[in-house]
């Protein structure tokens, strides 16, 4: 069996992260990573008739451009694995309708990037595919509509609320070539410590992030150069740090969160930071992957975090179940 420790799958064959393509919205383009994205789209409709249609265009264009950039033909791609935040993962399925690639749609809320990377690696390592594209997207307006209130409604966001990233990321995984390799994958267990406040997602997901990270580090014993979570924001990030400090195994110096990397928290009025599928996807593709390529870091633990609630479950008084999947990547 290729499983090590309690929960971690060890990838024995080569699974290279060959290339990435990221598209970001206006606010993300104005942030610290503005110049790193492959494409920045200023218009929040991108010429489409609705925000939902715009989001699927983000995802479709990310995959198309990734293929064009690497001269990949449809026949070269064995599988497209993608997901998003909207009901029935509509953005992903409609993007796949136009892309005409063999498609698996997955739902992992904001953990989708790591979830698809993990699944893609297993499928390649299992010998079922040579080339897999993993993709995800989110859009501030479509997410806000589905999960909260109409955008034209006056009122204030709470200080712990996060800002859904408008953006999409696509990643090409292959069993040949060169570059950073995915070595270990840990799929997390759902953790739910009773947080019900949809304006405090970081706190709802932090226990899941801590649990998966701790398990992955215990299973693999690897000393990572950089550990990054998906979208915990300022609140969740400090709770994860606190939990590791209590174990006297502080990760504070090498730990960061995509939700705090993508925006300038002090200047951009995003309160606790970024969130959404697009958050970890764009930060991975535009920032973390390049750090690996440039050998600024050699071992990256990339962990996307997701809140697996629905608007209905929240109304019915359920708390927010959190999940986190860890992808260990080495250059």
């Amino acid at each position: 069996m290729k499983k090590i420790g309690k929960q971690t799958f060890s990838i024995k064959d080569d699974v290279f992260v060959r290339s990435t393509f990221t598209i970001a919205g206006k606010k993300e383009g104005e942030g610290p990573l503005g110049k790193e994205f492959d494409m920045v789209v200023e218009d929040d409709l991108w010429g489409e008739k609705s925000w939902e249609k715009c989001e699927l265009k983000f995802q479709k264009e990310a995959v198309k451009n990734l293929m064009d950039k690497n001269n990949l033909m449809k026949e070269d791609i064995d599988l497209l694995i993608s997901g998003d935040l909207l009901n029935q993962i509509a953005s992903s399925s409609f993007a796949a309708r136009d892309l005409q690639l063999p498609y698996i749609g997955v739902y992992g809320a904001c953990s989708t990037m790591a979830l698809t990377l993990g699944l893609g690696s297993l499928i390649i390592d299992g010998g079922f595919a040579n080339n897999v594209i993993c993709a995800t997207s989110s859009h501030f307006c479509s997410a806000e509509r589905q999960y909260r209130l109409p955008l034209e409604m006056g009122g204030q966001r709470h200080m712990s609320a996060q800002w859904t990233v408008t953006g999409a990321g696509a990643v090409w995984l292959s069993n040949s070539g060169s570059g950073p390799r995915i070595k270990n994958v840990t799929f997390g267990k759902i953790q739910d410590l009773g947080v019900k406040d949809a304006n405090n997602m970081g706190a709802a997901m932090a226990p899941a992030a801590y649990d998966s990270l701790r398990q992955h580090l215990e299973d693999t014993g690897i000393d990572y150069d950089l550990i990054v979570t998906g979208d915990l924001g300022t609140v969740g990030k400090s709770i994860v740090n606190k939990m590791f400090n209590e174990d006297s195994s502080s990760i504070e110096k090498k730990y960061d969160d995509c939700g705090t990397i993508i925006y300038d928290i002090d200047k951009q009025d995003v309160h606790a930071g970024g969130s959404g599928c697009g958050c970890s996807a764009t930060v991975f593709g535009a920032f973390l992957y390049k750090k690996l390529l440039n050998r600024e870091i050699n071992r990256l633990l990339f962990t996307s975090t997701g809140a697996l609630h629905s608007p209905t479950s929240t109304l019915q008084g359920e708390s927010i179940p959190g999940i986190a999947h860890c992808i260990g990547i080495e250059m």
Binding site: L149, P150, M153, G154, G155, Q156, M159, A203, P207, E246
Partner: protein, 146 residues
């Protein structure tokens, strides 16, 4: 997991930033006061400028405020005011109008009948249900105790 729901709640409370209530209250006072002042000005203009009786001028001034709120919501400005004004823009009748106009506008892309028209009371519906209900109770009470 080393935390249970109760002990984690304490951690969350400790790490969650508090809303800036004092600052919010100051802005709510200014915005709310200003909207009510505007209502009073409109009412007085209607009464003195157009010779409208006081009992009609009140509702008419409300209707004008509602129209104004619908216009600002449509232009996408009311939510920007609401960001600063908080409850100052929610509590006045303009906030009620905003809660009617905003879903109407937002669901436009799902069609004018099943989108706009069926979602128009998405937020204001509860207000009317509870409002009419308590109005009925009060009416019956007045019958019983008159």
């Amino acid at each position: 997991m080393k935390y249970d729901k109760d002990s984690y709640k304490q951690v969350v409370d400790e790490y969650t930033p508090k809303n800036k209530m004092l600052k919010n209250c100051v802005w709510a006072f200014i915005f709310g006061g200003a909207i009510c002042l505007l209502g009073e000005i409109i009412k007085n203009v209607l009464m003195s400028g157009f010779n409208i009786a006081e009992q009609d001028a009140g509702p008419m001034s409300s209707v004008i405020l509602i129209a104004l709120s619908a216009l600002l919501t449509g232009l996408g400005w009311y939510d920007k005011l609401g960001k600063i004004g908080g409850a100052g823009t929610v509590v006045p009748i303009t906030g009620f109008a905003n809660s009617v106009v905003s879903p109407a506008l937002e669901y436009k892309r799902e069609g004018y009948i099943l989108g706009t028209a069926s979602n128009i009371f998405k937020l204001a519906g509860p207000v009317l249900v509870f409002g009419y209900f308590s109005s009925f109770i009060v009416g019956v009470l007045s019958l019983l105790f008159s």
